[in-house]
């Protein structure tokens, strides 16, 4: 009893004055190991995997220069320096809140490529699901929440879009930072109002700074839209190009290049421009003439600039689309060739691996199918249903090769990944 009283007293002495800091600090540190950004198809990003500067690869990895590591560092420094003055902890909390506020802005405006990949995966998921339904009984699994409607043509829409991909880790981080800030505020003697202003003003100011170029870009985009609607094509082109300079998102928007191409055509200027080629390619894509579209896009992609990169990505998309069209028409071999080309052109077209795995299986290249599955598994590891379906394709291939032990293992892995209504794996194991 005495021991309990002693320990109770100790706990009380630590917990009662520091509970805000303890809970807040714990949330901040723990959040960096949780999911911050949800990818609809590929691996999710944890706080320690969300880079500050460089682009993430196909598979996320721990980065020293990441939001999570920075946050832990700031918190530790704040806690250590708080021995001298609580103001340091308040400053650390302000920086943490700034990091919290900047994450969606970072995704939306600083790393347009990342947001572009997120939205592309989001748009592709229904197609991947529909593709899977073509050949396997429905695996309903547990549903994932992914954004449904993204309005990406405005800065606000992109900001909201980026926010919609943020998940529990980011939320916990924000709550933790707030609690640390409240702790620092409660410990300060006097000047609380000014510290509170800094605490919440700093994130706001940082947000404004990050948003400023995008808002200027938005201004030019709106100006261009009005000029286009009034038939002033040349003004519209100039304003669209200004918006591209200010906002990286627009610079990577293939549709905007095509729109400029259209405007050039209606104004009768720059007859052989690359934008016109892109416009032509997209028109061809809409008409399901993918091969000609790819030809046009590959012409644009010859140079080494952002437009070429954008065109290359679109060419890869067109290859994927052509593959799907061929697959539906029964041309499995040609479909496989196109999906291979898509992956070669743009390795971020990872969902083509799903198609490839099934395509190889259909043409009897079971070893290649297994290889594609093994490539796919680490990419979709965070998505139970996709992972289960990938394992099931692999298991089917193993079964065709007569390697029953591996097939059973893969069916088991599939069932373990998604035990809910996974008929495919279940019947594979039962042996129907």
């Amino acid at each position: 009893m005495a021991l309990a009283e002693k320990w109770g007293g100790k706990i009380e002495r630590i917990w009662a004055p520091y509970w805000l800091l303890i809970v807040g600090g714990f949330l901040v540190v723990a959040s960096t190991g949780l999911k911050w950004v949800e990818f609809p198809f590929s691996r999710n990003l944890k706080g320690v995997q969300l880079p500050l500067f460089q682009h993430i690869g196909l598979l996320p990895h721990l980065s020293i220069f990441s939001f999570g590591v920075l946050a832990i560092g700031v918190l530790l420094v704040g806690i250590i320096l708080s021995r001298f003055s609580v103001a340091f902890l308040a400053a650390a909390a302000a920086i943490l809140l700034t990091i919290f506020a900047l994450v969606p802005a970072h995704l939306a405006f600083e790393q347009p490529g990342l947001l572009s990949r997120l939205t592309e995966e989001d748009q592709t998921m229904p197609i991947v699901n529909a593709f899977s339904k073509n050949f396997l009984p429905q695996n309903y699994g547990a549903s994932e929440i992914v954004p449904k409607r993204l309005q990406l043509y405005s800065g606000w829409g992109r900001f909201v879009g980026a926010w919609s991909f943020l998940r529990l880790g980011w939320t916990c981080f924000g709550i933790g930072a707030l609690l640390v800030g409240l702790y620092a505020l409660s410990r300060l003697r006097g000047a609380r109002l000014s510290v509170a202003l800094v605490l919440f003003g700093l994130p706001f100011a940082a947000l404004v700074i990050v948003l400023a170029p995008a808002m200027i870009g938005q201004y030019y985009f709106t100006k261009a839209s009005l000029a286009k609607a009034e038939g002033r094509s040349l003004d519209a082109i100039a304003a669209f190009r200004s918006s591209m300079r200010w906002d990286g998102w627009h610079a990577q928007d293939i549709d905007l290049y095509a729109t400029i191409g259209d405007l050039q055509r209606s104004a009768g200027v720059e007859p052989n421009s690359r934008e016109r080629s892109i416009s032509q390619a997209l028109t061809l894509e809409k008409a399901a003439q993918f091969e000609q579209a790819v030809f046009e896009l590959e012409g644009v992609a010859q140079k080494d600039d952002i437009m070429a990169l954008t065109a290359r990505r679109e060419a890869a998309r067109a290859h994927t689309s052509l593959g799907l069209a061929l697959y539906q028409a029964g041309g499995i071999g040609s479909a496989v060739t196109n999906w291979q080309a898509a992956l070669a052109e743009d390795p971020t077209q990872v969902y083509a691996l799903t198609y490839l795995a099934r395509g190889y299986f259909m043409i009897g290249s079971y070893e290649a199918s297994i290889k594609a599955v093994d490539q796919l598994v680490p990419i979709v590891r965070d998505h139970n249903q996709l992972l289960a379906n990938a394992y099931s394709i692999g298991a089917d291939s193993y079964a065709k090769l007569g390697r029953d032990a591996e097939a059973r293992n893969y069916y088991n892995l599939s069932l373990a990944a998604d035990p809910l209504e996974n008929y495919w794996a279940l019947t594979g194991l039962v042996g129907e």
């Binding site: 009034e230 293939i254 965070d382 008929y423």
Partner: protein
């Protein structure tokens, strides 16, 4: 608190802070009204006029009905529209193409559609299907259509007794669809006029101004003088006043940019998203009937809107209508349309109208008065546009009309502007408060603080009044933005200014007398009245719960427990027998005992639901007691009254499944635990009682185990800063006891399942809590949507959260609210299964938190009025606002006055138990229908075998589980060992081959598709296809269908028997 402040100073500063909060709240609310009324495009809605059309229904009064009529046309129509209304939902079909779909449970939904492209010359079939989920009452529709053929001949069509209707699609033999023109009408019974025609009724509102379709489209197709492929057309129209209601319809030959007074309405970039360019694969799973799927497979026809892309470019033109009123200003208004076509001349067709104040239309359209603008040329050199064809001329013909949605270009600045409007309004209200307070304090020679408090209290009833005005916006019977109108804002402003006159009334004496009288009156009845009131409320609750208790069929969950409860009579434990062995219950262990007790009076819907009904009634009493023990009698009685009338709680008290018992026991546990911890040292007897109560809660449903950590959190916060309780032995004895029960229950479950080989999916895969938040299926918003922001709970949540700063000082509130949050947090993060019913057992805590916060705010206002201003008017205002807030809480919580179905965060999407009069699954009628029509040699596939066995008084023959969606165990003891259904032991049919074996052997095969949606979802596609081709739907009811496969060897029914049977 600042140490330099005395309690009196602190009280004074508190009073000013409170007053400030009240004024800011009122200002923000008024700002929101102003922002919505003047700074956001209005979302207009309209009521449809059905003229002479009548509500019609089938003679059989079934909840499902298929209505149809034929109309013959000599030529294709140039104008055709159809208005449809129905109960709950409808699908309007013209010549087998879907024209429109509406769905809103417990509402008479309505819609108006352009059908000219669906009609053809010759015989046309107009059909409407209705599938009700609300009860009682039959499926009903009302239809009005207008068709103007090319040449001017007009055909008007209204629903009347000449329409044909059936309650089941199986009336149509062969492969024809029920909407087909080839189906002979004579087979179908005539509809009858519904009695509802003689009563008033409310229709839902529609988004499209009916005049858009009802007034003929005029105008000409325009070209530029040189027939260029890119052209900008412009026209100026005159408006009488700003924001005059104006509709514009526009079609073009290419990519269109539409500007109204410099505001762009269409999308800048016309290429759409990259996914739009992808080839069309089969879309995600849709809820379509097998027959509909079959049709799509066979004919490749797609439902819904016509394909806009593909085919000839000339076929793409659609007349899109826009409500441009928001951008119209008084005087001249410019409309500019730029068209860019690829390889053809840019052309445009415009038709529109302004609505005058007397309701008449002022039309405008595209004609030679329009100009073509050359952006490179000076503005005054615009050329007149060239007319090249009237409406309906080649190559497009008469165009389909659709509602176009202007592109939402709201950006950072828009939101900042909106915020600014709200904040500025609040600032003005605040400034007025300070100004009037200063003036009054000066003129009346009283303390400024007193005047400020009194003036602030004047704002309270206005704020509550504005909140009241918001409610109709969420009622399906009102337009979405009904309350955002100038009249209300003016009234609020006048009230805000006028109420200050009360400062001038010297009524302090009156206040004293009134208060004394009220206090005396209440003190006379204080002792006995609360108990009498609580009993009255419980009686009301019992009546509401008992009424219609047996109206709907048992569902599969209820029947599972009912079946097991019968085991108690023989072995003393709930069980079923399987493969000759006893299989005892492994979950909800405590629930069948009350059922068995009630079963002594016979097994029926009434007796089995009676325990829930009684427990639901006792919950009302518990709410009252919790309220009074934690707060006061007023809180207890109001919470009990609101709880007694909440649809969700009434519905669950009419259901024999576990939620009601679990809720009752958990409420009891929470009350007993509170009684145990509120004293130092803990009250031992209450602690033991709470432990026992918790065990029964846990044995009612294992998920309620989260109550334990939540009680711990509540204890920690209730006893914040105290740690002596860690030394309480009762705590550890209780924990040990609970731990033993939990471990024993887990062991029992494992032991019961161990001897069986099972395959399939089921909830029993879930064995306990897990780190669900790390999985991909994690849905943090689930219980926010299903509990916190569900339609009847929104105001409780608002009050509970907004009241936190006021209520946190109250210790009891610190017991209640953290427990609620903790339970929500645990269920969201640590249980890998999500269902709305999982939060039901702690839902009363939300109601109580909301009510407690409301009453505390009310009390605070009264205290302010008394202590700071001592004015009768302020006192009356505080009471008025408080009573109105409580009334608001009550009115939004049930369906007596408002139907706030749209208040939910997910819109008008009800859960199964959230509204009164919604049917779950009608197994009863489906099973009884099969039993009545069974012949020797027939085979039955019951949807849910044990429910069929109960209602049909005989077992089924097979269980269909083609995607292993249900868990099926293997019975090795059968002559032919196989998988069987776990309740009835019926052999499982796992694929099409096995199904064919059965159907080929049987004379007739009956399949009960119930619950219908999950049956379709969990059946193999080839099986559904087989059923689509070979089975006939012979009976339909709430979420259930009966299919019949007739083999060659069957006894053919006599003529007319089928019809009689259907009736």
């Amino acid at each position: 608190m600042n140490e330099n402040l005395t309690p009196a100073t602190a009280g004074r500063s508190y009073a000013v802070r409170w007053s400030l909060g009240l004024v800011i709240f009122c200002g923000l609310l008024l700002g929101y009204f102003i922002q919505q009324t003047y700074f956001t495009p209005k979302h207009r809605q309209y009521q449809l006029d059905f003229g002479n059309a009548q509500w019609i229904e089938p003679v059989e009064k079934g909840p499902t009905a298929y209505f149809r009529t034929k109309v013959f046309l000599n030529a294709e129509p140039e104008q055709a529209w159809m208005e449809v209304a129905a109960v709950d939902n409808f699908k309007a079909i013209v010549n087998s193409h879907t024209a429109g779909v509406e769905d809103s449970v417990k509402t008479r939904v309505a819609g108006i559609y352009d059908i000219k492209k669906r009609l053809k010359s010759g015989t046309n079939v107009i059909a409407v299907s209705v599938n009700r989920t609300s009860f009682p009452g039959p499926a009903q529709i009302m239809v009005r259509a207008y068709i103007k053929q090319h040449g001017g001949k007009v055909t008007e069509l209204v629903s009347d007794a000449q329409w044909r209707v059936t309650t089941e699609q199986g009336i149509v033999r062969g492969s024809e669809d029920w909407t087909s023109a080839a189906v002979p009408d004579e087979l179908w019974p005539l509809a009858v006029r519904s009695p509802v025609n003689d009563r008033p009724y409310d229709l839902s509102w529609v988004d499209l101004n009916p005049m858009v379709l009802q007034s003929p489209v005029t105008g000409s197709w325009l070209l530029s003088g040189d027939a260029a492929s890119s052209a900008t057309f412009s026209k100026t129209i005159q408006a009488d006043h700003s924001r005059q209601e104006t509709w514009l319809q526009i079609a073009s030959s290419g990519q269109l940019d539409l500007l109204v007074n410099g505001h762009l309405l269409t999308s800048t970039i016309d290429y759409g998203s990259s996914s739009a360019r992808l080839p069309h694969l089969a879309t995600e799973a849709k809820e379509t009937s097998p027959k509909a799927e079959g049709r799509q497979r066979a004919g490749g026809q797609s439902a819904g809107k016509p394909a806009k892309k593909g085919g000839s470019t000339f076929e793409k033109a659609t007349l899109e209508s826009y409500d441009i009123s928001y951008w119209i200003k008084s005087g001249a208004n410019s409309i500019t349309a730029t068209v860019r076509a690829d390889h053809r001349p840019a052309s445009v067709l415009v038709s529109g109208f302004l609505v005058n104040s007397d309701g008449s239309l002022q039309k405008f359209d595209s004609n030679s008065s329009w100009h073509v603008i050359d952006s490179m040329a000076p503005p005054d050199t615009a050329q007149p546009a060239v007319e090249f064809g009237e409406v309906g001329s080649a190559p497009w013909g008469y165009l389909a009309q659709e509602l176009g949605k202007p592109v939402d270009r709201a950006g950072f600045l828009t939101y900042a502007g909106n915020l600014l409007v709200i904040v500025l309004t609040a600032a003005v209200v605040l400034a007025l408060w300070l100004l009037f307070s200063g003036l009054m304090a000066g003129s009346r020679q009283e303390l400024l603080r007193h005047t400020m408090v009194r003036d602030a209290l004047f704002h309270a009833p206005i704020a509550v009044g504005l909140l009241f005005l918001l409610l109709p916006n969420y009622d399906i019977r009102f337009p979405d933005e009904w309350s955002f109108r100038t009249a209300f804002i003016l009234a609020a402003v006048i009230a805000l200014l006028g109420i200050r006159l009360f400062h001038l009334f010297p009524v302090e004496e009156l206040a004293g007398r009134a208060r004394a009288r009220v206090t005396a009156t209440f003190s006379d009845v204080r002792t006995a009245a609360p108990y009498i009131l609580l009993i009255l409320i419980m009686s009301l609750g019992l009546a509401l719960r008992f009424h219609n208790i047996a109206a709907i069929s048992f569902d599969h969950d209820e029947m599972g427990l009912v079946t097991k409860s019968k085991g108690i009579y023989s072995l003393g434990i709930p069980y079923t027998t399987y493969a000759g062995d006893v299989r005892w219950i492994t979950t909800y262990e405590a629930v069948p005992y009350p059922l068995a007790l009630s079963g002594l009076f016979g097994y029926s819907e009434l007796t089995m639901r009676l325990p829930s009904c009684l427990m639901g009634t006792l919950c009302i009493g518990l709410m009252g007691l919790l309220g009074v023990r934690l707060f006061n009698w007023r809180t207890g009685l109001i919470a009990a009254f609101i709880y007694a009338c909440l649809p969700l709680d009434i519905r669950w008290a009419q259901n024999a499944f576990y939620p009601q018992q679990c809720q009752f026991m958990s409420l009891l546990t929470i009350l007993l635990f509170y009684e145990a911890i509120r004293v130092r040292p803990f009250h031992g007897k209450f602690f033991i009682a709470a432990s026992i109560s918790f065990c029964i809660t846990y044995l009612s449903w294992e998920g309620s185990a989260f109550l334990l950590p939540s009680l711990f959190v509540a204890l920690m916060i209730y006893r914040w800063g105290e740690w002596w309780w860690l030394k309480e032995l009762n705590l550890y004895f209780g924990l040990f006891f609970l731990g033993t029960v939990v471990v024993a229950q887990y062991c029992s479950r494992t032991l019961a399942g161990e001897p069986y080989l099972q395959i399939g999916s089921g909830l029993s895969n879930l064995t306990g809590p897990s780190l669900f938040f790390l999985t991909s299926a994690y849905q943090p918003m689930f219980y926010i949507n299903k509990l916190w922001l569900s339609e009847n709970h929104v105001f409780f949540t608002l009050l509970a959260v907004l009241g936190l700063p006021v209520c946190w000082g109250n210790r009891s509130y610190r017991y209640l609210f953290p427990m609620l949050v903790s339970l929500w947090f645990c269920h969201t993060n640590f249980i890998a299964a999500l269902a709305p019913r999982y939060c039901y057992y702690y839902q009363p805590l939300l109601v109580l938190s909301g009510v407690a916060a409301g009453v505390m705010i009310y009390d605070r206002m009264i205290a302010l009025a008394q202590r700071e201003s001592d004015s009768a008017i302020a006192w009356v205002c505080a009471h008025a606002a408080g009573i109105a807030a409580i009334l608001l809480l009550f009115l939004q919580s049930n369906e007596w006055m408002f139907h706030v179905y749209k208040l939910s965060s997910t819109g008008d999407t009800p859960g199964l138990m959230t509204r009164m009069g919604m049917y779950r699954y009608d197994y009863r009628d489906a099973d009884r229908y099969v039993k009545e029509h069974l012949q020797p040699g027939d085979v039955v596939f019951p949807g849910i075998p044990h429910v069929y066995a109960y209602y049909a008084k005989q077992p089924g023959d097979y269980f269909l589980d083609t995607l292993l969606g249900s868990k099926v165990p293997y019975n090795q003891l059968l002559g032919e060992p196989r998988f069987v259904d776990k309740f009835g032991g019926l052999p499982v049919v796992r694929n099409l081959t096995e199904l064919k074996e059965v159907t080929h052997r049987a004379r007739r095969t009956w399949l009960i598709f119930a619950p219908y949606a999950s049956f379709e979802k969990l059946s193999a596609p080839n099986v559904l296809e087989y059923l689509d081709s070979n089975a006939r739907i012979v009976f339909e009811t709430y979420r259930a269908k009966v299919l019949l496969i007739e083999g060659d060897a069957q006894v053919k029914p006599a003529k007319g028997e089928q019809r009689t049977a259907a009736k």
